[in-house]
């Protein structure tokens, strides 16, 4: 048995120990796995270079510097940068910061979870080894063991008593607060995916060319044309509202629904029937589009 395996096993055991502290009687039985058995999760490959994370800046609303760096590191490990942009380029940490700042519940979960991550890192690698001070291989090893432990604890089971036990475990975890910890990494993963794949930087790598509106998909019946779009995200006309000539700044360069400077009501930039919305929104104002008059029916 190699050293590596035993250490992974050890961390996995301690991850389970923390997650399920006191929760079950049969915890000793459930962690005995053959050393090479891997769960069916596809696990990360190690990126070649060290993780680059963005610097802490003044626009961060909720996180302090340490928390921000932790979140950014986690994000960069979950979506690493390779030949296509990763979480760092998509500024995932900023997105999560905004989201967390908006909700007390999220704040509590993140505070608790990040503290726990540090303490767990110390427990696994010894005093002074907080998560950020670990080298990248150890960081990944730690996250892997947390993920495996979670997957084991909440794995799919068959049989009435096993299901009952799982239900009991979940209630116990939620009730005593360990639920937040055990699912913290899963939560971060979900938030990072939300943030990353709703940022235009991610679309280049998968050949997506932007949200479904306002243009829709006139080519929906034809063979895919995404090869035309990979490498550049489609731009939607221009950045000035056709109705009120209000500048709209948007990452895609497209027009989005925005509050009109003239009437303080939202406009939407549907190109073909803008006159109609214009008529609805500003009954008394005349607009400079004389050639294309929208007709009812």
């Amino acid at each position: 048995m190699t050293n590596k395996t035993t250490r992974r096993q050890f961390i996995k055991v301690s991850a389970l120990g923390i997650i399920g502290a006191g929760a079950t009687v049969s915890i000793g039985a459930s962690i005995v796995l053959p050393p090479d058995m891997d769960l069916p999760n596809p696990y990360p490959q190690i990126p070649k270079e060290n993780v680059q994370i963005p610097d802490y800046h003044d626009n961060v609303v909720f996180f302090d510097e340490h928390q921000y760096k932790l979140v950014a590191t986690l994000a960069a490990l979950i979506i690493p940068t390779d030949d296509t942009p990763g979480a760092t380029e998509a500024r995932v940490a900023d997105f999560i910061d905004e989201k967390v700042a908006a909700s007390k519940r999220e704040q509590k979960a993140y505070k608790r979870g990040l503290n726990w991550l540090d303490s767990f890192s110390v427990q696994a690698y010894g005093t002074g080894n907080s998560f950020l001070s670990l080298d990248i291989l150890k960081q990944i090893e730690l996250l892997r063991s947390i993920d495996e432990a979670r997957a084991m604890r909440y794995r799919k089971v068959s049989g009435y008593f096993q299901r009952l036990k799982l239900k009991f475990d979940k209630i116990w975890d939620n009730h005593f607060g360990v639920g937040n910890k055990s699912t913290f990494f899963a939560k971060v993963r979900r938030d990072v995916i939300h943030a990353f794949y709703s940022h235009p930087a991610s679309w280049e790598g998968i050949g997506y060319f932007g949200p479904p509106q306002p243009e829709g998909y006139p080519d929906f019946s034809d063979p895919p044309s995404s090869h035309l779009y990979t490498g550049k995200i489609r731009l939607i006309r221009n950045t000035t509202c056709q109705i009120c000539h209000h500048e709209v700044k948007h990452p895609t360069g497209g027009l989005i629904a925005h509050n009109c400077k003239t009437c303080h009501r939202p406009h939407s930039p549907w190109p073909y029937d803008k006159n109609r919305f214009h008529l609805e929104n500003h009954v008394e104002v005349v607009f400079p589009t004389p050639n294309r008059k929208w007709k009812d029916g």
Partner: protein
């Protein structure tokens, strides 16, 4: 309590598929109408979420909350928790979020007892509904192609059909091999500008509410036309709690709460309940009185019984070639080949196939993939844009055990008992689900899928609530007559999916519209003859 002094001719509770049609048809004949809607009034452009931002997927999930009224959301369960039956609150009801399938029910769907010896026959036949189907299709501007192999010949639809999307063409390869015929789905979505509304741009965001008004939901079609008559007043955020009856047992008005929690009574000569198959029976059961101790119009004891939901199952296949299935709407091609009891099958009735685009946006796709790190990115490249799928909507037989009753203890904010749901799948449904699953796998395999992502059958997968106040000719075995009029109380109508005797396989909206149009004609006739 304040009373609304004016007595209106008709008070309609609910403004969805049933209520909106009744409001328009009756208002055009000069009747004065008040519509009570629990949800808010939405302006499509301002209130429906725009999917033009990069984070469109997340924001539309958050935005879906606006279609829910918390006071009506609470339900309890007789057995273990199964699912909360889907409901949409807002002027326009379920049609705000529906996918606009406008499929007629097949002639045999109305007489499954005669054909297969299961369930019960409807008191009406397909032929009775044909003129009303036609009328509704013209009003909605349905886009479709007549001459499909399953329904008797339909007159040309008002708008041309949509083309098959590219994802549908991929699945069609499989269907062709198995000999399953496909036909463009009739859609209540505009393929051409119609009636002052623009054509559909295939953005695929029907379920978030159609901003452009290209989807013929009730709020932009029937409600608009109803309000144009100036005979209709629509009270949004008005939660009806009970129907009041006078000493002779005749319903006289509806008690409701406005958004400030103030109680009102709306007096009316005729009362139409169209609150959906969960809230309609609840309202009638809650309206018990000395004359009707078991609930209004419940002498048969069948209100709330025979609750049905379609057994929905869908699976997505991953294909080697890029499909870009995120383009375009859900659906587009349908097959009703299996919408009957097949020879040699071990169960009764069948299902329809609805081809769809599978998992759509990048966030949703990434969520469906396990793992993290470089592997996740690699898998995303492999998965994204390579997915196409098939959904099946199966007919569930009516079972008396599946029911909506009142919870004996738990009450809502207004002190009314909440609905209690008893819903389960029975042997026939389970057998059908197994066959459906195998059939979907066969189609995807034949189409050349390299991997299949399967969803297991679970209650509520197809959000169609039906049954609970069934129609019939016999007052002891049904709640309503064939015109949706209560057997016990002549001036009470229940016009929504509650009146369905069996569930059929078609998506129910168009049939509800047609039944509502037919019932409206009856109301006008009876009201003119002073029978109500």
């Amino acid at each position: 309590m304040t009373k609304n002094k004016e007595t209106c001719d008709v008070c309609i509770i609910g403004s969805g598929s049933g209520g909106a049609v009744v409001a328009k048809e009756l208002a055009e004949q000069g009747m004065s109408i008040v519509v009570l809607e629990a949800g808010k009034r939405f302006d499509p452009l301002r209130n429906y979420i725009s999917s033009a931002k990069p984070d469109w997927e997340i924001s539309s999930w958050q935005h879906a909350k606006q279609f829910r009224v918390e006071a009506l959301h609470k339900v309890t369960f007789e057995n273990e928790f199964t699912h909360r039956p889907a409901e949409v609150h807002g002027v326009g009801g379920g049609t705000i979020r529906y996918l606009a399938y406008a499929i007629r029910m097949l002639p045999d769907d109305f007489r499954i007892y005669t054909v297969d010896g299961v369930g019960k026959d409807w008191p009406i036949s397909y032929e009775d509904l044909v003129p009303y189907y036609r009328k509704v299709e013209l009003d909605l501007g349905v886009s479709g192609l007549s001459g499909d192999p399953w329904t008797p010949l339909v007159d040309p639809y008002p708008n041309p059909p949509f083309k098959f999307s590219y994802a549908n063409k991929i699945i069609k390869r499989g269907c062709d091999k198995l000999g399953i015929k496909l036909w463009p789905t009739p859609m209540a979505r505009l393929s051409k500008p119609f009636d002052g509304r623009p054509h559909c741009i295939q953005c695929g965001r029907c379920s978030a509410g159609c901003m452009t008004k290209a989807k013929s939901s009730m709020d932009v079609t029937y409600i608009t036309k109803a309000e144009a008559t100036n005979n209709v007043s629509i009270q949004s955020e008005a939660i009806a709690t009970r129907i009041r009856v006078d000493k002779s047992g005749k319903p006289t008005g509806v008690i409701y709460y406005d958004n400030n929690g103030v109680e009102h009574e709306q007096k009316a000569k005729i009362i139409v309940v169209s609150a959906g198959a969960v809230q309609s029976p609840r309202l009638l059961l809650n309206s018990h009185s000395n004359q009707y101790p078991n609930g209004l119009a419940n002498s048969s004891g069948l209100i709330g019984k025979y609750f049905m939901q379609h057994t929905g199952l869908s699976a997505s296949g991953i294909f080697e070639d890029r499909i870009d299935s995120f383009r375009g709407f859900f659906g587009g091609a349908t097959s009703q080949d299996y919408a009957k009891t097949l020879p040699n099958s071990t169960f009764a009735r069948g299902w329809i196939h609805e081809l769809h685009a599978g998992i759509k946006g990048p966030v949703q796709t990434a969520q469906a993939i396990d793992g993290w790190g470089a592997n996740l990115k690699k898998q995303m490249k492999y998965f994204f844009g390579h997915i196409a799928g098939v959904a099946t909507v199966g007919e569930q037989l009516p079972y008396e055990k599946n029911s909506i009753t009142l919870d004996p203890k738990i009450k809502d904010d207004y002190g009314m008992p909440v609905p209690r749901i008893n819903f389960q799948f029975f042997e026939n449904d389970r057998l059908m689900a197994k066959a459906m699953e195998k059939n979907i796998h066969d189609i995807l395999d034949a189409a050349g899928a390299v991997r299949i992502i399967n969803s297991t059958i679970k209650p509520g997968a197809a959000p169609h609530n039906m049954g609970t106040c069934r129609m019939g000719n016999n007052p002891t075995s049904s709640v309503l007559n064939s015109f949706c009029q209560a057997h016990d109380v002549p001036n009470l109508f229940v016009i929504d999916s509650s009146c369905f005797v069996t569930s059929g396989t078609a998506n129910p909206s168009l049939t509800i519209h047609a039944i509502a149009a037919r019932a409206s004609e009856y109301i006008i006739k009876e009201a003119t003859a002073l029978n109500l």
